[in-house]
Amino acid sequence: MTATLTTPTDQRGPSRASRVRALATAETRLLLRNRTAVVNSVLLPLLLVAAIPFLGIGEDIAGFGPTLVISGAAVALVFLVYYNTVTTFVARREDLTLQRMRTGELTGLEVLVATAAPSVLIALGQVLLTGVGVLAIGRWEAPTEYVLPLVALFAGAVLVVLLGAVSTAFTRTPESAQVTTFPFVMIALLLSGLMIPLASMPDQLAQVARLLPMTPVVELLRLGLAGQAWDGATVDAAGAWAAGLQPLGVLVAWLLLGSLAARRWFRWAPRR
């Protein structure tokens, strides 16, 4: 009686990491072959950062360098990773590629990670380049604390990918992503402390804003890179950790919520 699972022990399959790498490499190639995506996600942000020294905006403000890096990171996470995740997942779902990917040895999680990987890598690259740019114009200031901003960057990337996956549930076509991503983008821009400092908001609004998904990311970046708490208070490394506990908690809560929601609502095939 054979016809059972006879996986020969000498024939081990590719590891999880190498399966993800295979698909992520193909996704990167696809991104580079899509001119609109290259301009939007690679060239535009670089031009923006490169232009700032010539525009002379806010150069006299203390903490100009760190602010530039914080803004660069938050903008990359929202505009690049979140937006690209939504459009790519929806495009792959609607052209039935996601369903096909699920018929092989790749797991669903591996497909999602690999599909999102190029955007995340480009975003990390941009943050790095922004840092180098800030150094080049002589505005680099030593961070108060290193771990918090790194946690913010990586956990933030995971969070926006999860929220992007959730957003695909109410996004029918890649084009309609321009509309469906609007709420999160506006919340992230206006209420995260990125464009309007939380300290300048009415206290009640600020407390609500601190519970929104992108706010802890910006808070943690600012604590670590600029040594500044949400209310504008200056902190040292120990103070950054003390003030960082709440945003870390909020971030973890959103990661849990995001993964539950993605598990619940993400669809692999178009609605028929």
């Binding site: 009686m1 054979t2 016809a3 699972l5 193909a26 590629t97 369903q99 092989g104 797991t107």
Partner: protein, 318 residues
């Protein structure tokens, strides 16, 4: 270890030396109030092709999705190589090749890049060249998927489904949209795989395809198997047909017992379950009376006839 499963009785006249590669028992699938698959059972052994036939909406794809591990059954069970295709996905997948009825590929990768990428995710992939050669796409290796014709894309789909040298292959309408030559190429591929010991489950609209490939066939109607067996067994459920045309004024042959007259002179059509004696009587009568039977046609029932009889039943019931 694979969980041993009690083999169901093999069809009459065939000896089975192996356990089934695919075993479906009382499978049910529901979408809300709608029951798409109403308790079907079948099994497929290594080296065998099993064809699921049925009109659109009969439940073929819904049934296959459970075999493919893409959906849980709402009732009954499915074992692929003795394992649950959803719960034991990681063990089943390296042995399973799946061709979905429709699936997509990113248009901006080339054919070779697509195959190479897929291969890197598999346990035991064929070399890219071999995979492309198999489906006749060697000359198209550097063409972007976007530029392929519908038939070429379908063959690329098939190359990916077979890339991991699967021992169980599930093909949902493998040749829909293919030209006759490509279709024959796909048939040869399937036959080669079966000769190599693979178990194949396929659905098709083309009865010719089932006749060419399938060892056993099941006809699905409204989520239930209404006919199943070998092609001969299925054909036997329907009467044979005798047709001929008489000259004007020619005498009419006596009507033998057990014949159902479908049409009379000059273009006669009889249905009978005793083709040989009825035909012998007819020919003897014609010789004795010097009658010419023009365009004489005698044929045992075909799979197509059985299928259409079932489809007509659908029509009557509606």
């Amino acid at each position: 270890m694979a969980v041993p499963t009690a083999p169901a009785p093999a069809p009459a006249g065939t000896a089975r030396s192996t356990a089934p590669a695919v075993e479906v028992v009382d499978l049910q699938r529901r979408y809300g109030d709608f029951t798409a698959v109403r308790g079907i059972s079948f099994e497929v052994h290594p080296g065998e092709v099993f064809a699921l036939l049925g009109v659109n909406g009969a439940g073929k794809t819904s049934a296959l999705e459970v075999l493919e591990g893409l959906a849980d059954p709402d009732g009954g069970s499915v074992r692929v190589l003795g394992a649950d295709p959803v719960a034991e996905r990681a063990r089943v997948r390296p042995h399973l090749g799946v061709l979905l009825q429709s699936s997509g590929l990113p248009g901006d990768l080339t054919v070779a890049e697509t195959v190479r990428t897929w291969g890197r995710t598999l346990t035991a992939p064929r070399p890219v060249d071999e995979a492309l050669d198999q489906v006749g796409l060697t000359g198209r290796a550097d063409v972007r998927v976007r530029s392929l014709s519908g038939g070429e894309r379908r063959r690329l789909d098939l190359a990916l489904a077979l890339l991991g040298r699967p021992s169980v292959v599930v093909l949902d309408e493998p040749t829909t949209g293919l030209d006759p030559e490509s279709r024959r190429q796909v048939w040869r591929l399937v036959q080669d795989m079966v000769a190599g010991g693979a178990a194949v489950v396929l659905t098709t609209h083309h009865l010719e395809e089932a006749e060419e490939l399938a060892d056993r066939v099941a006809v699905l109607k409204a989520g239930q198997i209404v006919l199943s067996g070998t092609q001969a067994e299925i054909a036997e459920t329907q009467p044979a047909t005798i047709r001929f045309t008489l000259d004007e004024g020619a005498p009419l042959p006596p009507q033998p017992a057990g014949v159902q007259v479908v049409s009379t002179a000059p273009r006669v059509e009889w249905h009978t379950r005793a083709l040989q004696p009825v035909l012998a009587d007819l020919l003897g009568w014609a010789a004795r009376h010097g009658v010419v039977l023009h365009a004489l046609h005698a044929r045992a029932a075909s799979l197509e006839q059985a299928f259409l009889a079932v489809a007509d039943g659908t029509h009557d019931a509606a």
